[in-house]
Symmetry: C2
Subunit: 165 residues, 2 copies
Amino acid sequence: MHTVIRKATRADLPQILAFIRALADYEHLSHAVQLSEADLERGGFGPRPFFECLIAEFEGRPAGYALYFFNYSTFRGQPGIYLEDLFVLPELRGQGIGKALLRRVASEAVQNHCGRFEWSVLDWNQPAIDFYHSQGGQLMDEWRIVRVEGEALTRLAAASGEESQ
Amino acid sequence: MHTVIRKATRADLPQILAFIRALADYEHLSHAVQLSEADLERGGFGPRPFFECLIAEFEGRPAGYALYFFNYSTFRGQPGIYLEDLFVLPELRGQGIGKALLRRVASEAVQNHCGRFEWSVLDWNQPAIDFYHSQGGQLMDEWRIVRVEGEALTRLAAASGEESQ
């Protein structure tokens, strides 16, 4: 095949930003994309990097990306990998590029002594769920993410210190 | 009140390990706890720390802990905090210690320019869900975590390189 997967560098920032925007557009969530190239540089290539990124090239040109970070399981006593974004350009799908990215992130997990590799899926996206099952993924059916953001986060944080000390 | 919340140090490792075991015991998951003090030290205090930890002290003695790490939202272009464990000794509940820990983690999120603060809850744990709602949390109802671990992770990783390059 003609897919090469490599770690992203600072030079890829404009391409990663374009991919993130294309992913948001594909999900009809363009309005939700707030990040700039400077944000992305600070997040991934600053003194305290919050993520790592892989670029897939197909026949010599950028075809997709995988963006992930490490989490930690206290029960296992091991880190894990959480895959935040996986994207392949619509016109290049069906070539195994997404699968190659997924497997490469799994390989990063094994090389970094991770016990788990996780990501999220919408519960109504059955084709995706079927594909993930075929790749060895299991759905954590009983668990739900709770999120606090915006004003609610500011309020919750402001309450800190009222009780402590 | 008499609750003090402070960052954990290496000296707290035996206490954190005891708390993690107590949490597992409370969840009837003691058999799932595989970590040693050395694992915990490597994970939290090594050259590449995977988590941060807060200790709550009530009337001068350790009463609970919160263990969290940073994730990243590409749409926001900001890190977030994911709370892995929150635990208060059963005999010290009802004193606001858990709430104080939760608020302090929210405060860490705000101080670190995070856009989100997240954690997980079992979908049948209605008292917990009600409490989280009261604290400003929203349930991400449509999303499910997919997890690959153990043999399945090894297999997925081994398939990497077959296609790429």
